[in-house]
Structures are given as C-alpha cells and as structure tokens.
Symmetry: C2
Subunit: 916 residues, 2 copies
C-alpha cells in the first residue's frame, strides 16, 4: 500500500493494476463510484481494466466542512504517494513534459446523484505538458488543444468561478462568455460545427480563453499541474453544497452529513480518433427488464458526449436498436473483438454483483477501459421483471427479489396508461425514446419554473425542453411527464425520470422547440404553451390533445408472480377500503384479503344516492323521535341492500363495516331547491327547516357530534344500521354464501360507549338470528381507535371490543391538534423549516402518533390477548407506514384498492428489514 503514513488516518485509497485498497463494501467511506472502481479493479473475480487512480474519502469532505474548508494535515502526503503509485503503474508522470499523466477529478457520493456535482477532466495539461500529450496521441495536435480548451472551460467555470462563490448575473457566467468567444470564431470563419475547428483555431481559442479569464476573474488560469489537481479536488468538495446538489438531496432524502468522496483517476480518451470510442451500457434492459445487453456508444468521443445527448449515440448491438438509432452502426459490428470483451465483462459483473449493472467504458486506441460500474437504475416494470427473472435464474433468492423492487417502482406498474383502443385510433405527432413508463397528459410548459408555478395553481403540466439539465429537477418533479427533443436513454432527463418512475419521452428529434415564442412544432402542427399533450412513456409516443387514461395493472401476470413471492414472506394481512361491490371486486383482484373499512355513509355521496340521501336528510332534521323513526324505517332497505352487495363481493373474507361517522350537518343541503323539497316532505316551513339546520352547526365539527356520539344519543340510528348488516348477512347465508361482517364503532373514547352500543348489537343479533332461523352469524364487534384517549384506555376498550382498527387520519388530527382541512396555513412552512420531516397525513409520524398507537396496541392486548388489530385510512397504503404497522405487531393494514399491491410488497419488505 502506497498511501497512509505512520500513525495518521488513511484518507486516500488507491486502485489499479489488479489490486485496490478498498472494495465494494466501503461505499460510506469511498462513495459508490470509488467503492465500485476498487471492486472492479481489485476483486479476484473481476480485475477489470480500470484506469488507475485513487479516492479521497468522504471523511475528508466531512473534515472540509467542519473545519472551515481546510484539509487534514496528513492528506497532502497521502495524495502525493497515491499519485506516485499511479505514475508508476502508467509509466507516466504528472506534469512531466515528456510523458505527462493526465487525471480526471470526479465526485462520488454514497448514493448516486447524477450530474448534481462537479467534474474536472484533463487535469495536468499545461503549456509544458502539451507537447508530451501530442506525442502520446500520435501527433494529434487538434485533439490535444481540444482537450486543453475543455480543461480551461471546465476549470474556470467549476473551480475559479463556482467554487470561489462568484455568482455572475444571468448569461454572464465565465462558461457562457467562453462559449460566445468560440461561437464568434466559428461565425467569423463560417464554420457549421465544432468539428470544423482546426488545431490552430483551438490553440487561438485557448489563448483567448485564458485572457478573458484573467480579465473577468482577475486571476491567471493555473499552469501548474498540482495547483490544477488541488483546485479540482476543492471544487468537487465545494459542489456537495451547491444549490443543485442540495435541491436533489432534499427530493431524494439524502442526508447532508454524508458528504462526497473525490475520485482522481488516470484520463483515458475515447476521442483520440476513429480507433477510440466511449459508451454506456446496462447489463439488462433498464426500460423493461429484459435480459438483453443494452447500451449506446460514440466513436471518437468523450463519455460526457454520450450523457449530454449532444450527438445521437449508436446502438451497442442489434438488441439495442431503436427507431431512433436504427440507421447507426453497432459497436458489435464496428469493433467486434472489443464488443466480445465487453460481453465477457457483462457476464462476470452480473455474476459478481447479482444485479443489473450500469457501466461506462472507454476505448482508447483499441484498448477497452472500464470507467464505472454501479447497480443500474431501472423503472418499475423493469425492476419487477428483473426480480422475477433473476429469481428464476437462481441469481438471487426470494428475499433479495422482494427487496429489489421499491414500492414506488411497483407503483409505476399501477400507473394509468392511455386507453389502448383510443390510442390505436390516433397517430402520434412525434416519436421519441421510451424513457419513463405509463401514460400522462397535461398542458405544455417550456420551463422548469413554469412547471412549478402551474402545478401550484393546480394544473397538470408536461415539461417540454430541448434537453434537461440538473437545474431543471424541481420543474421535472412538478410535471406529470417530461418530453425532450434531444438525448438518449441515458440522458439526464431519462435518468432522472426513470429514478422517479415518471412518464418521460426523450430524444424526440422531430420536435422543434421555440422557447421565445413558447411553442413547439412537429408533424406540421404548432402547439402553444397551455395546449394539451399526451405521452406514452412506455412506447415513446407523443399525441396532440388529451387522450383518455385507463388502468391495466390488474392484468399484469408479472406483477402477480412478483406479489406471490411477497405474499410468501409477509406476515401482515392486506385488506382494502372499499364501499362498493365494484371496488371490492377490483381489490380482490389486487389480492385484498378482506375489507378493512366500509363506510356506511358512502352510499349518500355517489351516484344513485339521490333517494337515500333525501331520506337521510329527513332523518337529520327530524325533531321528534317519531319523525326520526319514520325516516329510519324508510332508509333501512337502502342500507341493507348497499351493505349486502359489498359483503357478497368479498364472500368468505371479513368486511369491517363502520357505523355512521360524520357530523350530521355535512348532509344538510345548501341548495334552495333541495331545501324546499325537504321542507315540503316534512310538512314544515322553510323558516323552521332553516332553524333546524342552523341548530346542527358546530364550531369544530371534527370533534363534535359524530360517530358513536350519534349512536349514543340516537340509538335507533345504530339499531337500524346493525339490523341492516345482520339481515344482509342472514340473507347471504340463506343464499349459501359465507358473509363475515365485523361491526365497527367509530370515534370511541370510553368503554362505556362500547357497552352502550354492544347492548344494541347483542339485541339485534339475537333478533335476526331468530327471525332467519339461523344457528349463528359469524361476526365481530369492534372499535376504531382514532381518539388519543381511546389508545390510553385501550385495555378497558378491549374487554368489549373484539377488534381494533386504528383510524390514523383522525388520530393524527387529534394527536397533533392539526385540522387536516386547515393545515395548509402552516404545513408548507413546517416542511420548509424542517420542523416536520413529512406531511404526517401521508406517512405516520412514528415518534408521536406511532407511540400513541403502540400504547394502544400494548394495552389493548392486555385487555384481550386475541384482539385483532388493524389500520384503516390512507396510511395503510404508505410503505413506511406499513413497515411501522408490521413492527408494532398489527394483524393487517387496509388501503385503497390500487394501493393493495404496494402494501403487499411493503409488508414483505418490512419482514426482511426487521431481519437486517
């Protein structure tokens, strides 16, 4: 080992020449890139041709930020030693005029943050070393001055301007200024592209660049290789706290404390001529998961050229061919030997990593170098297919398969798509690369800030750009979908969209975007900002206008295979929240094992609710017990029919039916016409009706006269509902079905409320069993736990309740004292200031509300050891919340039908995470 001096901490890890100080397991210290370079270079099963180099650890970054942007004392010596080792391996010397070594300086965080931090290439190139490089390149002067121009551009931008904290006005950044110098030269000489520039032109440009830099930044561009190296290292560390990086970390939930490593690595050049190339590849197709080697390459280009999407890359092989690149030659065809070597590497990498790898390679003068290797990003369908396939191939076990798919990726499979029949009848106005799955439609915007702004106004937008860059991430997040005119499957837009599972079409070259006029042209049509566009991100199609979306997820056989693996691991039951036979049926297709929440009041909201709602309203504004009983009797057959249909659809599975929950005044109509009709039917004056309705008003309805409080004050209302449930069940038994209702009392805070309602339950049960001449009806009596006090006295509640269902929406409201309807006033500030990590209505607040739930479960099971415990409400479909439910020992979660697959996956992952 060359680095690490006596006694001082090891800050620098070398790799190359068939060995390495580090390995894959050291990602926290070396970053993902550094660890993988070490693994590729040093592991006995791999020892791939990695250009030698070394990694400055993330601890250096931490030190840098803790100690006012300084370095540990031992660092310099360790870098020097590591550099010497590289020089030895390469037979070149850093700064040596005769045989100079050039290096790249790149970031590498624990988790990939594509394009969010800075890079400096060609470090070590100076006036003194230029001749040496010309010699190495076989006399390619133009290549060398082009490399020099690139170094000057990058260095002045990244090191001398950004890292120095200089923030020029719009368009006055040094990079833009240098670009304008080049544009002027090209105009002056009448060139059409960069390739027209001669070696002399480039040499001239380099001199002009350096003069401009001195003029603008008041500093000389450094001609000293070591100064360049340390400048580059400092700029990478500084970029960890750049605006883009911070913004990305916030979205991805990456902690600020992690820091980045810095990788210093020998430069290899894919742009040394026609015998050189560069490319990126995935060991399997990241777009659909197929077991095919999928990639792109460019002859005579640097890696950045592929990622930036400036030239359209060629397909790696025939498998990688698409509409977009079908006219281009494959690497397989152009460099068959090198391609075979790459295929060999592919095989060894998958076998070694047991996962799909995303690789970067460069061919310098017919010699293949591996520059990077990491676990490849993939969209949801691809993730599921790879997991299922690799399990079949015995490359991974089922636990690994389950952990390979994130809930968000699974969600992609459940995303809407364009109705295929409608889509067939439409001709796309343009075609691009299918970079993000599913369908989406929205109104066109042409800038990221517009996307953010329009989204705030509640609009659905599609962000249309020439190409995207890291500055755009927030706008991309806000958009329903992203459409770019340029770039390939590995372009920025594609990488980011794939990570998020967002619908995305890239490289749609038929598209002409005019930012100034705010319009796009394609297929002879012109669409303006605000016009509607529909994308098929799975096929890469772009349609004018608004096409209808459908959901086809339940037909997905792959999904079912995957979820069966999940089911073999998970312990939590997964039920659904459903109020109709249709929802119940759909949920069963998604694998729901019962209904966790059937809300009796739903029947008064949707279609077909006109008649029962009218009767309900009569009941609500009734003043005497007689009036009320009359309305209740009228309502009974509707309620019974409604409940019966859903219980039937869930035949054999439990159905938790919650008795009437909302405050009654919610149902009082506001329209004059409906009020008049009501007054007429009740034979009272409009004044009287208004008075009765006014009487129902509450200051804080959320904590008012609702749930069991209605049942206690109007026992006849509970009675009617319970009778409807039992009679529905009794009729189903007579019809040969296996109904299993669980009757749930909401808004309970004391066991005496349950006693009160249980007496009704018992009485009606006996009456119905006798009426239908049955032996028994399988059923349970239980309660929502949604009031903090209920959790506190859960032991007593459980003496009566046979099951608990945590109503975490209300529990979050009461536990936090947050009215969900009013939270908009302060939640954005709370999230921005970091007072809350998440919206607690999205993800259970484990620290507070979770603690209340834990208390409720512990005490509840003290009161009744076989207590059934579940959760209903939207948290039941949130993966982190599902994991929490598993940890605290619930029996099941319940969520909306479309979240059932997510919950099944999250429940399986919860088991596996517990074992870690």
């Amino acid at each position: 080992m060359a680095t690490g001096s006596k006694g001082s901490k090891k800050y620098v890890y070398s790799f190359g020449g068939g060995k390495a100080d580090g390995n894959e397991s050291m990602k926290n210290l070396l970053g993902g890139k550094g660890a993988n370079l070490a693994e590729m270079a040093g592991h006995k099963d791999l020892r791939l041709p990695v250009p030698p180099g070394f990694t400055l650890t993330t601890e250096v970054c931490t030190y840098y930020y803790h100690d006012k942007r300084t370095y540990p004392a031992a660092l310099k010596e360790q870098v020097n030693k590591a550099l010497a080792q590289v020089e030895k391996l390469m037979g070149r010397k850093f700064g040596d005029p005769a045989s100079p070594l050039l290096v790249s300086v790149r970031s590498g965080a624990r988790k990939s943050m594509p394009g969010m931090m800075e890079t400096v290439l060609n470090v070590g190139l100076t006036e003194k070393t230029i001749p040496g490089l010309i010699k190495q390149s076989g006399g390619n002067t133009r290549f060398v001055y082009d490399a020099y121009r690139r170094l000057i551009t990058m260095y002045s931008d990244v090191v001398m301007e950004k890292a120095a904290g200089i923030e020029p006005a719009d368009d006055m950044g040094i990079r833009k200024q240098l670009e304008r110098i080049m544009d002027k030269l090209k105009r002056d000489k009448g060139y059409s592209g960069d390739t027209d520039l001669t070696a002399d032109d480039l040499k001239t440009l380099c001199n002009q660049y350096k003069a401009r830099i001195k003029e603008v930044l008041k500093k000389e561009f450094p001609d000293n290789p070591m100064e360049q190296l340390w400048g580059g290292i400092g700029a990478v560390f500084a970029s960890w706290n750049g605006k883009r990086a911070i913004s990305y970390r916030r979205i991805e939930g990456i902690p600020d404390e992690w820091g980045t490593a810095v990788n210093v690595q020998t430069m290899v050049f894919g742009n040394m001529g026609e015998d050189s190339a560069t490319g990126v590849a995935f060991t399997r197709n990241p777009g659909n998961g197929e077991n095919g080697f999928y990639g792109e390459y460019l002859i005579n280009a640097q890696g950045e050229d592929v990622v930036a999407g400036i030239r359209t890359p060629g397909p790696l092989n025939s498998y990688s061919r698409s509409e977009h690149n079908k006219s281009l030659k494959t690497l397989e065809g152009v460099m068959p030997n090198l391609y075979r070597e790459l295929v060999n590497f592919r095989r060894r990498l998958e076998k070694h990593y047991h996962d799909m790898q995303d690789i970067e390679f460069t061919i310098e003068k017919d010699r293949l170098f591996m520059l990077q290797c990491r676990s490849g990003k993939r969209n949801g369908p691809a993730a599921v297919r790879m997991a299922v396939d690799m399990l079949k191939e015995k490359l991974i076990d089922k636990q690994t398969a389950v952990m390979r798919v994130t809930p968000a990726q699974l969600d992609e499979l459940l995303h809407p798509i364009i109705d295929p029949k409608v889509e067939l009848a439409h001709k796309p106005m343009a075609k691009g690369l299918p970079a993000g799955p599913g369908g989406a439609c929205g109104q066109i915007v042409f800038s990221a800030p517009d996307a953010v702004e329009w989204k705030k106004q509640g609009k659905k937008v599609i962000l249309v750009r020439e190409e995207t860059n890291p500055e755009d991430v927030e706008g991309m997040r806000a958009a329903e979908a992203i459409l770019t005119a340029r770039g390939g499957m590995t372009s920025h837009a594609a990488l980011v969209a794939r990570g998020w599972g967002k619908c995305c079409v890239v490289g749609c070259s038929a598209l002409h975007v005019d930012y100034n006029k705010r319009e796009l042209k394609a297929d002879g049509k012109t669409l303006k900002e605000g016009d509607w566009l529909t994308l098929n991100g799975t096929k890469g199609n772009v349609y004018e206008g608004k096409l209808p979306m459908i959901d086809a997820s339940s037909e997905n056989r792959l999904l079912n295979d995957f979820l069966k693996v999940c089911d073999s691991i998970k312990k939590l039951g997964v039920r659904t929240n459903a109020d109709t036979p249709e929802d119940a049926t759909r949920a069963r297709e998604f694998g729901a094992e019962g209904i966790g929440l059937f809300r009796t009041e739903h029947m008064f909201y949707g279609k077909g609710s006109h008649e029962p709602l009218f009767i309900l309203r009569k009941m609500i504004v009734s003043k005497t017990l007689e009036e009320r009983k009359k309305a209740i009797d009228e309502l009974f057959p509707y309620v019974k029919k409604d409940i019966k249909g859903t219980i039937e659809a869930m035949d054999g599975y439990p159905v938790v039916v919650r008795l009437l929950d909302p405050p009654l005044h919610e149902f009082v109509p506001r329209e004059k016409e409906k009020l008049e009709q009501l007054a007429e039917d009740l034979n009272i004056s409009m004044d009287e009706l208004a008075k009765r309705a006014e009487n129902l008003h509450e200051s804080n309805p959320m904590m008012g006269h609702r749930g069991v409080r209605l049942g206690v004050t109007y026992p006849e209302v509970s009675e009617m509902q319970i009778r409807a449930i039992f009679e529905a069940a009794a009729e189903l038994i007579k019809e040969g079905k296996k109904p299993y209702p669980e009757i749930m009392i909401p808004v309970v805070c004391d066991v005496k409320e349950l006693n009160d309602q249980f007496a009704i339950y018992k009485k009606i049960y006996d009456e119905v069993v006798a009426k239908y001449n049955l032996k028994s009806i399988k059923c349970m009596f239980g309660t929502m736990i949604e009031i903090p006090r209920a959790a506190i006295v859960a032991d007593r509640l459980a003496t009566v309740a046979q099951f608990f269902s945590f109503g975490t929406n209300d529990m979050t409201q009461m536990g936090f004292g947050f009215s969900r309807d009013d939270i908009g006033w302060f939640l954005p500030d709370y999230l921005k200031k970091g007072i809350l990590p998440d919206d607690p209505f999205q993800t259970i607040d484990q620290e507070g509300i979770g603690e209340i739930i834990k208390i409720g479960i512990e005490r509840g099971r003290k009161g009744r050891t076989d207590l059934e415990v579940g959760i209903c409400g939207e948290h039941g479909g949130d993966p982190r919340s599902v994991e929490f439910c598993h940890k605290v020992g619930m029996d099941y979660v319940s969520c909306s039908p479309f979240r059932v697959p997510i919950a099944r996956l999250a429940a399986a992952q919860a088991v596996l995470k517990e074992k870690i």
Copy 2:
C-alpha cells in the same frame, strides 16, 4: 352478647344498658346512626342513656337487593334474640298486653341522608297492647290513641303502600286520604287544631282509618306486633331505592351499593305530657361556628314535630334565642336539672368526638334519653370558625382542622353578599332564620318543578315554599336560594341548604304563600311569580326587588387564619390566571404565589382595547410582510405597557406570559362599520378586505393556525411579543423591581417548534440585555402541554423548555376529541347514561387525560430533572383536579383569583389524603 348464632354471620348488633356490640368505627356496617348509638351507649367515656335497641347491618340490605328482596336465613333468630335482650333491659315485652314494649324502626346509612328514607314509630302497638300502654302512660288514653293513629298512618303509607310499590294518583295516596278523614272530623266537630281531638275522637279515627285502609289497599292493618316489626324493617330497606333517596344519592355522590342499616329501638315518648319534651341541639352553632350550645325543643311533642317544623320550637337556652323564638321559654328555664344533664353530655360528646355534634334527645316523664348523635352539618363560615377555634382549643390538630372544611364550604365564604351599604338603606319586607349563608337574588317561583324549568331557561330563581320536603330537592338545587314560611334551623330546608352551602331563609312566618294564585304577601305587599326577591341568608332578611351583590371574602380574617394552616401543609404552589394588574393584585390578596397564565390576547378583548384591537386587525389582514411589520411596530408599545403593569403587580413572583394563542380570524370584526374603517386605514377595497378575511376562515379552528404555528409562520409576531416582555422586565429592573417573566409557547407538538421559537427568545434576550445595559434578566422559556403528542414527546420538549404548563382544557378537547363548543349535543346524554361520571371540562378525567398528563410529566422530567411543572386552565381551581395535580407531582396549580383559596385548601387536603 345476645345475637349471633353458632357459626352463622352476625347480622344484628345490640346496644343499651351501658354496653353495645358495635362502636363508632363500624359505620360501614351499622350506618352512621347505628354506629353512633352503639358508641354513645357502650363507650366507657360516654355510656349515655340511650333507649336500648339493635341494628340490622347494611349487609342485610345488600343481601336483600341481591337476593330478590329476601333475608339471610339466620336473621330471624338473631332479631328474636336481640329483641329478647331489649325486653330484658326494659322489663317490658313486645306484644305483651300488660307491659308492652314499643319500638321505632329507622334507616341509617353510612352517610346521613336526612328525610330521604322511611321511618315507622310506635311499632308493637295493637288492639291487645293498647291497655298496657295506657297503664304505662299513667292512664293517658288520648296519648295512646294518638300514638296508635300515628302508627296506622305511617304504617299504611310507608309499609302497605310505598314499600308494596303502589303508586296512587296525585292526592289519592293513603296518607292523604287518612288526613282528609281527620280534617272532616275536625270540621264536623268544629275543632281548630289537632289538640282539640279527644281520646274518643282519636279512637274513632283509628277505626275509620283501618276501614279505609282495607277498602283502598285490600288488606287489613296488621294487629300482630311481629308482623308490624318485619313490615317496618322491609319498608326501610325498600326505601333505600325510593325515588327521593336515589335522587339525593346522585346529587351527593353516594354509591348505590352502600345500602342502609335498620335501627330498631325502644320507643321513648316526648309527648307523654308536660313533663315530657323532645329536642335537637348542636354542640356549637352550625350557622356561624361560635362555641355556643345551640338548640330547640318542644314540650309534649315527638321528635318528628321539631324536624317537620309544624310548631315553632323554643330555644334551648338564652344563647339559642332569636327574633323568631324570643317569646318562648328556654329548656334551661323550664327543666334546669335536665338541661344541666344535657350540658354535661354536650361537653363529654365534644371531648369524645373532637367535633361538633348534632344530637336528638327526648325527655319522657322527666327522664332524659339520647336518641341520636352525629357529626353536625355546618355551613362554610361555621366550618372554618370551628376548625380554627378547635385548633386553638387543642381539641384537634392542624391536619384535622384542614380536613374539617370541604372546598365547597370554603367556597361559601367567597360567595357574594348583598352590598352592606345598599342593604342598610333597605328595610326587609320579612325576617326569617338564617339557614344558609351569603346573599342571593332571583325571580320568585312557587314549586320545585318550576325552579328546575326556569333554571333550564337560564333564569335565576328563588324557590318560595310554605315548607320544603324531600320531594323538593331537585328544585332546591336549581334555585339560587330557598325561602320558607315555616320550619326552624333544623327543618328540612335548612338542613339541605346548609349541606349545599346555599343561601336559605327559613321559618319566615310573616310570609303568606298562596300556591294557587302564585303570589306571596308580606309587610302589606304582594309579589307575584317572576317578581324579583333578594335574600340575606346570613341574617335571615328578605328584601323586595334586586339588590346589588359584592364580594367581601378577602377581608375575612378567619379565612386567612385557616388558609395559613393549609399553607403550612400543602406542597403545591398556587398561582393565578390573571391578565390585568387588578386581577393580579386581588389574587395576591387571596394568596396567589405568582401568575400561571397571562394571556397576551386578553388586551384585545376588554375595555380600553379599541385602539390595539384595531391595529391587531390591521396586522391580521395584512398581506405582505411589510404591511404586517408596520402594524406590529404600531402594536408594540401597547403590548409592552400591558405586560409591564401586570408583571409589576406580581413583583417578585413569577409571571407566565403566554404568547398569542387563538386563531387570528377570531379577531376579524363582523360589523360593517368596523370593516369599513379597517379597509380605509389599509387603503384597500371592501371586496379585498372581505377576500382576505374569508381566507382566514378555518373548518376546525381549534386545531388550526394558532399558537406556535403563528409564531413559526410569522416569526415577527413572536419577536414583537418577546421583545415587549423583556423590555417591560428591563424597565422594571431599572425601576428597582424584581420582575420574573416565564415566556410560554402554546399549542406545541414538537421540539423543533420550540427550537425555532427559542432562537428568537435568545436573540431578543441578548438584544434587550445589551440595550438596557443589564447583566441579566431573570426569566424562563417554556411551553404549554396541551396537545396529546406534546405529552408523548415531552422528554424531547424538555431539552429546550425549562417549564411545562399543562393546558388541560385543550388537552381534554384533543384527548377526548370533544369540541367544548359543541359538546352540548351529547354531554347531557353521556352524563345521564353514566358514560361519563363528570363533565371532563369541570374535573380532570384522571383515567384518560390524567394518564396522558402523567406520561407528559414522567417523560418531561426524564428530559430535564429540574423541570418546573404546572397546570393552567379551569381545572386548576377544581378540588379533585388539584388533588390529582398533587398526586402526579406538579409544582403548582393556577386558577382564577377567586378559586385561589379553594386551591390552597385542596392542595393541603391532597397532602393529608395521601397519608391516609
């Protein structure tokens, strides 16, 4: 011991002849009356002349109700044995024609329930034993038939009708029917009163009574002494569940399970002639607590005659003389030897019981018998005086003194009285006995149901009756005060009102009440139902109209002496909730040791709030930070001045200042005029203003944008308030004062909210200390704990907060999910059905909310061992809640100024109860 057979449980306890099976400590088993009879009869220091008898235990009552109104098998034999022992002591035999023994059968519960259960006297008198009794009475035939008439009347009413569950229509009860027979006879014979009835008349009546009883109740009046005895015993047990008794128990909080004992005791007769008498007395004055022997008596009367208030009794001695009875002779004058004997008993009883005793005595033919002795009821002023005096007399220790006064009694001393200056200028329209303390005014009603009904309508009423009876208790409860035309200080009305500390004037004989016309006449005036009346219950004066009330409690030296004793025991600090210098000053007079809650928003409500409220409104509807800051700057001097005044009034004591708490829209005006003024000042249109105000609307404001949420979103508002507090304190320091502000953040649910506000606190503190050139300002930073989640994460909150103050109002709202504004819809049903034992906003719900508070304190002290913990809100003045606060280890309670004395007492009693 005569009772208790081999092996079977002892159900019957004998007393008499200088010994007794039981004693005072056995109240739960023998009832209060039975235990005291045993004590008086059997204790070596007493051995008073108690007519011998025996007690059937409360366990018999329990058995009776558990086993379908039957008795334990062993009971009959035990009763027979006990009866035989009494016969032996008295030398008479039950049912013996020659020398018959007569007994009384009375109830006796653990706690006195005056007049709520049944009694049968003269049991054992039959056609066969009448001659023997005539012989015993020295040939007083009239006396014997009068006794027989009384037995028949009581027995037919209590045993044959009520206990048999017969419920006749109004005025058709057997007692009424018998009374009408007597009235007819008196009319027929032209008699003016009962005393005109001759022995023959009474004999005739007895026969007519028995005939009517057979006719109406289809049963013979029993001529068998044993049948009479068991009938009486059964009727007493049955009366435990009579309507009156149940209603009284509910008001007094006596558990239904206690049951009553039955006392069977030899009859002694105060109505055997002019050498006989009966009376009741208190060993000290129960109306004011003076150490004087205070009582009433009637010559030739039975005890019931005194209590019923039918004849006005004479004063026991000159000390007992009043306006009312000044013309009557004293017992001291009429029977000096017997009076001296009674004075001797008084001395021994107080020495033995260490408390004021309420005694009943009867003189039968110059022989003194003690019929009852119990701890005497007293009003609040009397309770306090007795406690203070007995402590001085060394009759009791200070712990006992503190326990002798209930918080409700103390509250009586704090009751309003009629403004003395105004009262001096008014002549009473009538005078009666001062039976309940303080002053009261209200509208006249003439029946108990009316009192209940009018009270429900929000009216203040005074219940005016000839005399009251146990049927009236609910109406008496509802009334502000009670006025009766008849009865003495020991009449039903006086006893009940004294127990409740309610203003009451009894025996106001100048009053003529006409129930039919609904009017009263006195002093030549006629007042109708609904007219106003004012009573001075301390003096017994009745005034026409509505006189002004004042509070004079703080001048009460006795009260201060007593509270100092409390202070020497209590551990809890007692602070006050005060928002003005006046309140603060008054609270200090009441003994407050600081302010537990100063609400910054109060200044916008009361008088003088016009200008600051207007500025606040500008702040609220401001749209930009600039507009808001301008309004805040304008507001600053008002806030500072306001806070400074109150901190100054509490000089040297801590003042907890709560930052702005309510949702802002509470302050938005509704009146058009004020809105216009606001729009004009802000230079915006009314439409714009309306829009801004509408924007502030919230669905559930209780859980909306308020408290610290305002402070987080509008830090400039917190800043202004904190600066006002510190500058007020700084100015006071400069003026030589000792300010001690504790700044409290409301509605907190997470420590990050506190961090956010603490940063402001720290910054402003430093600025103000520098500005005023001070070394430091004594102060604390803390938080309300009023959100359930705050209690759960209290350990983390305490890392920043130096003190907690539990806001139990909001905690009860959130913990129960009860909106206090809306609870009226269901709370009455919840209390009626026994789902809740109390209104949880009155008395802390210890089971649920209390548990949350306990969790909060435990966790809070984990986070900071020297955490200061208190409570603010109305529970701080509720005695049971204060006891809870002591038990869970709070440092102080805080309540309204007038509740401070109550809290001091409750805090001391909490210490003593803990030791029990």
